[in-house]
Symmetry: C2
């Protein structure tokens, strides 16, 4: 069966600051119609900064929707027309002060494709240089330093439970393991 | 600094099918106030079904908000008052027909805690028994079978890009690797 749903018309239900909400009437693959609730989000980037000594820098910030402070990879929303890489450079600097010699692309993912358009691009940043943080108005966070191996254990113990952070750490682990293996074979 | 934001009042902006949207006025940690946009979601579960021969069963379905068919672990939203485990048993059966002898808890994660309350509980299902699928009205999906190792490569190549599916596969890999290691040492 051809898996596709065609938009017939769209009704705007809410126009907000971060998100907009639409109800679309769609045609299903069996020709019937249905309604789909869509939360539009600009998308963003996240960066796992790893220094030459094997330490990572994460940010702890209060996440109001879930009612607690989470430990996360530095991240931010794309500004209108902004390139992913430029956004990664900007957000890493704003939230941690670091610049990086290299941003390794670890791909992108959809946070919740059943209702949201949000897509996040993931980078591993290496060759770090310290600088000054410059947070947005009303943005409060603490930078915390961990060994990379420790982060993997924290993910598996459930102490890190933010999707982008879990994905950045586990993809970086897989990437670095493959790189080590190739290095050993070369 | 104590990272907390206190709710002062809440305004309902949209009451929908899957999500509701609120704008809350909050007090920040510096005593100033700000507005927080919150998308309320019931949360859900996802299940990675792995058979005794090392094959996994994923579902491919059209995801209207992102405009394409994604390969995902079977999943579903929590019904009102439903236990996570009961939801996992129900969704695995509905979408793939399988029942399982064992559901291994791989923890939970927030999909996008900057604006959404959604939390997803992740299970690895082992000891599979085939049965009949029974999809919801208007739900169309294809079940696809892959070797577990192949799924890890697909994640790293970006062919699997749904958050819950990436997390279920990479956490399962880490879990199974630790189990193998412990088995080899015992």
């Amino acid at each position: 069966m051809d898996l596709i749903e065609k938009k017939l018309y769209r009704e705007e239900k809410y126009k907000g600051v971060i998100v907009d909400v639409y109800i679309d009437k769609v045609e299903l693959c069996d020709g019937k119609t249905a309604r789909r609730e869509v939360v539009n989000h600009p998308g963003g980037v996240t960066i796992l900064p790893l220094d030459d000594a094997g330490y990572c820098y994460l940010v702890r910030q209060y996440r109001y929707p879930v009612g607690k402070a989470l430990l996360e990879t530095p991240a931010g929303k794309l500004e209108y027309g902004e390139e992913h890489m430029a956004c990664a450079v900007r957000e890493l600097s704003e939230e941690t002060g670091f610049s990086a010699d290299e941003f390794i692309d670890l791909g992108c993912f959809y946070t919740s494709p059943g209702f949201s358009t949000e897509i996040i691009h993931v980078y591993l940043a290496c060759g770090l240089h310290a600088g000054d943080m410059h947070l947005d108005e009303g943005e409060f966070l603490n930078v915390e330093k961990y060994r990379f191996e420790e982060l993997i254990d924290m993910v598996m113990r459930g102490e890190i439970d933010d999707a982008k952070t879990v994905i950045a750490i586990l993809k970086a682990e897989s990437y670095l393991r493959a790189k080590d293996r190739n290095g050993a074979e070369a």
